[in-house]
Amino acid sequence: MKNRKLYFKYIFLILFTIFMLYPMFWLFFSSVKPNNEIFTGIRLIPKGTWQWENYINGWSALPQHTFGTFFKNSFFVVILVVIGTIFSTTMAGYAFARLNFPFKKILFAILLGTLMLPQQVLMIPRYVLFSRFGWINSYLPLVVPAIAAQFAGGFFIYLMVQFIRGIPREIDEAARIDGCGYFAIFWYVILPNTKPAIFSVGLFAFMWSWNDFLNQLLYINDVGKFTVPLGLRLFLDNTAAVSWGSLFAMSLLALLPSITLFFFAQRYFVEGIATTGVKG
């Protein structure tokens, strides 16, 4: 009886998971099909030969710039965002979790307030601010806020605080007795012990900035500076006469860094999201 129940549960879960991920399979197989095959019938596997040339055609489908440029730009921005976010959120996390200072309560309340603050209200004034700085059409509006812990900073700092609070205080105390200052404690004690949290923060920062569209749309105008999402959108808008297979091929490539990273580091995502309940 119990076995049969488990059996049904597995069948349901397998079918349901396939159903949920079916669009992804469809995306992959469509990326190696010619146009006329994608939109006729429900056959998943291509009838004829697999058209891997969709990838080559898609890569250089746009005039002047290939997707190589967009990927290079995206990686450049995302890596800076990740480094900046880790830098600023671990430091702030340490201060809130361990140190005592004036206005701590108020500042922590402000931090929690930014967790809930709908970012849409900052879209216009930030644009005005950055255009005053002369930063439009550069990567500065994407990168500098991250270095200042303002790219989902509230969530990440909160995650760090939660994690650092879990490290036994005795280790800090022992280091202090050995003559370590606050910076030495941060560097030699806190950082090595927060590796899992740093990993979670880095991975989420990567995912969100890789897939971020609105900010990139607002601030980047030159096609030569386009990131992958912007390149993809340009491709999508020009695609009337182009092969859909190539568009799907590029869509899949755009997703590949996120998916690969996810499969290698699932644990950190699931743990990160479970400790703070960050959005997905």
């Binding site: 430091m91 004036p102 970012q119 270095i147 993809l232 699931v270 309940g277």
Partner: protein
């Protein structure tokens, strides 16, 4: 004398070395929150009382807000967004909870299911997925091809005013994974002794779900509910790529409308007033959810 005293008190309360170190550690965040969040936040209040583009601005008091009350397109955008939030959030959470119930026990291979179902919520808001969704629901896309087999004639889901919004709602529900993961960790924290006691007392599975699982999980449900509501109100990319706000403004989400007003028509003051109105509506909704929590959220300590 007085200042000396308070200085002394301060010194007693805070080790000055520690406080200095703390502010050094906080410096990047402090600068960030002042320059990139609090200042723009205030500036956006001021802008909402101005007629302004990037070059000129003049103070016009409450005119933007008064104008908004009669702006049919804006009201439409609010209604569309509300419909999206009210339908997609409960559906998404119900899905997440249902699947979380199936995946809470450590049966063999459970990790694979959890990861596979979590993945869509990580990539769902990307342009790539939006591009895929557009074709999936296109006139000769997969959905209609499947319907064809059953002899049902599909329709152009995205360009029909009565279905376009639902295409986006389905995409939102598809991303139930992050709520699911939070539910799973909440479900694992419910002591099994409670279920055992209920079983001894002869409670059915159904009863223990409503009498134990739901009350014990209610703080997590509240958390997911608030989080998803705030996020859903700010939906942008999907509508921008898939439906472009159409057809007939049926998917003109407020943030998309704000974007168009501010950056295409360059009416930044008016768009700021829209932002603040939306923020106000989000605050009311969040407030209502928190207020209602008194009646359905169960805290153990009480």
């Amino acid at each position: 004398m007085r200042s000396k005293l308070s200085n002394l008190q301060l010194r007693k309360k805070f080790d000055s070395k520690e406080a200095v170190a703390a502010f050094v550690f906080l410096a990047p965040w402090l600068i960030g929150i002042l320059v990139f969040t609090l200042w723009p936040f205030l500036e956006s209040v001021i802008m909402s009382f101005q007629k302004t583009n990037l070059r000129t601005s003049s103070f016009i008091g409450l005119n933007n807000y008064i104008h908004l009350l009669h702006d049919r397109k804006f009201i439409k955008s609010i209604l569309v967004t509300l419909k999206y939030v009210i339908i997609s959030v409960p559906l998404k959470l119900a899905f997440a909870l249902f699947i979380a119930m199936l995946l809470k026990d450590n049966i063999k291979g459970v990790g694979i299911f959890r990861s596979a179902l979590y993945l869509p919520s990580l990539i769902g808001a990307s342009v790539a997925i939006a591009a895929m969704w557009t074709q999936l629901f296109g006139y000769s896309g997969l959905i209609n091809n499947v319907l064809n087999i059953f002899g049902i004639r599909g329709k152009p889901w995205i360009s029909s005013p009565d279905t376009a919004l639902y295409v986006l709602i389905v995409l939102a529900v598809w991303q139930f994974g992050s709520s699911m993961v939070i539910f799973i960790s909440g479900l694992k924290n419910i002591p099994t002794s409670l279920y055992e006691a209920a079983r001894v007392d002869g409670a059915s599975k159904f009863q223990s779900f409503f009498k134990i699982t739901l009350p014990m999980l209610s703080p997590i449900i509240l958390f997911n509910f608030v989080l998803q509501t705030i996020n859903s109100f700010q939906v942008f990319t999907q509508a921008f790529i898939i439906t472009k706000g159409g057809p007939m403004n049926e998917t003109l989400f407020t943030v998309l409308h704000i974007y168009n007003t501010a950056f295409t028509r360059l009416e930044m003051g008016y768009a700021s007033a829209m932002s603040w109105t939306l923020l106000f509506i989000i605050a009311i909704f969040t407030g209502l959810i928190f207020l209602s929590a008194k009646h359905w959220v169960y805290y153990e300590s009480e």
